[in-house]
Amino acid sequence: MTAHDERSAFEARVPHDPAYWSALAERITRSADPVFAELRVGQAWWNPLDRFGPALSIGAIAAAAATFVALPAGGPAAASNDDARPETVANPTDLLQNAFITPSLPDVMTLMILGTEE
């Protein structure tokens, strides 16, 4: 008895007909519709972002690095003293400035002056 005899005695039971495989694949794929529906219900809104995961991670790292570089020398403590001061100091005599930066409504005189300048 040779190996060839052993093989020829049994036909492969897994079918060779392409039509059989197409039909079975179609059946399995179609029968998965309820599973797809079930998964869609439970799917979180951020799941589609998964495909951008690497890019988003790189972006976040770059943003963190940029923030660190942009900090003034001496660290956050140094920045909290001088840099926190407003760039412009309110000047009570500057009517135009007062008209725009003060929380209160400008008085009638101020509006008249601004209107005259135009």
């Binding site: 008895m1 190996a3 005899d5 052993e6 093989r7 005695a9 049994f10 036909e11 492969a12 039971r13 897994v14 079918p15 495989w21 197409s22 079975l24 694949a25 179609e26 059946r27 399995i28 794929t29 029968s31 998965a32 519709d33 599973v35 797809f36 079930e38 998964l39 869609r40 799917q43 799941n47 589609p48 998964d50 495909r51």
Partner: protein
């Protein structure tokens, strides 16, 4: 890139997003080996088809937990085997081995037909007596024509284990068929 040519990881990603076509390509790509594995546990093709269907559904449900950096094939085969084992454990009748009823009659010689029928019966009986892993390795490699490495992946063992089981299965079957061969020579 068309779906047919897409990598497994690309198809998995698209399936996760609800792409049925991508899922269909995965099913088509792995249908034959998964059916062959499932049939090692099931008594009939119909039962094996049901197992494969259940296995693909479970894989679909589990895709969110699948790490796409890992290969898809072994993961899928593990699911198929688990589904098949669980089913076999709950169906006592599944412990028997399904043997094809008919064989191709290439040679019209009635003596040869009788010899082939006897040969088939003895191989069938011999396969029945083999341990499950030997039977699976022999059948998948020597009858179904899968490569040893492929069968190793399908069964979740290494290639050397498959070779060992095939060797032992062949030795056992040769022994079972020795009497028939002697009778024919006489």
């Amino acid at each position: 890139m068309s779906s047919i040519d897409a990598s497994d990881s690309e198809l998995v990603r698209r399936t996760r997003e609800g792409d049925r076509e991508a899922f269909g390509v995965l099913v088509t790509r792995y249908l034959r080996p998964t059916l062959a594995v499932a049939w090692e546990y099931a008594p009939s093709r119909d039962d094996a088809e049901d197992l494969v269907q259940e296995g693909f559904h479970r894989a679909l449900r589990g895709l969110d937990g699948f790490d796409t950096r890992q290969p898809f094939r072994p993961w899928l085969f593990t699911i198929i085997r688990n589904v098949a084992r669980n089913a076999a454990a709950t169906h006592a009748r599944w412990h028997s081995v399904a043997i094809p009823d008919e064989l191709p009659a290439d040679d019209p010689d009635p003596l040869d037909d009788a010899y082939r029928a006897e040969l088939r019966d003895r191989i069938g009986a011999g396969l029945d007596l083999l341990p499950p892993m030997q039977r699976a390795c022999f059948r998948l490699c020597d009858i179904e024509g899968f490569e040893g490495n492929e069968v190793a992946e399908m069964l979740g063992v290494n290639a050397a284990t498959v070779r060992t089981h095939r060797h032992r299965a062949r030795a056992a079957l040769r022994k079972a068929l020795q009497g028939l061969n002697d009778e024919r020579k006489a």
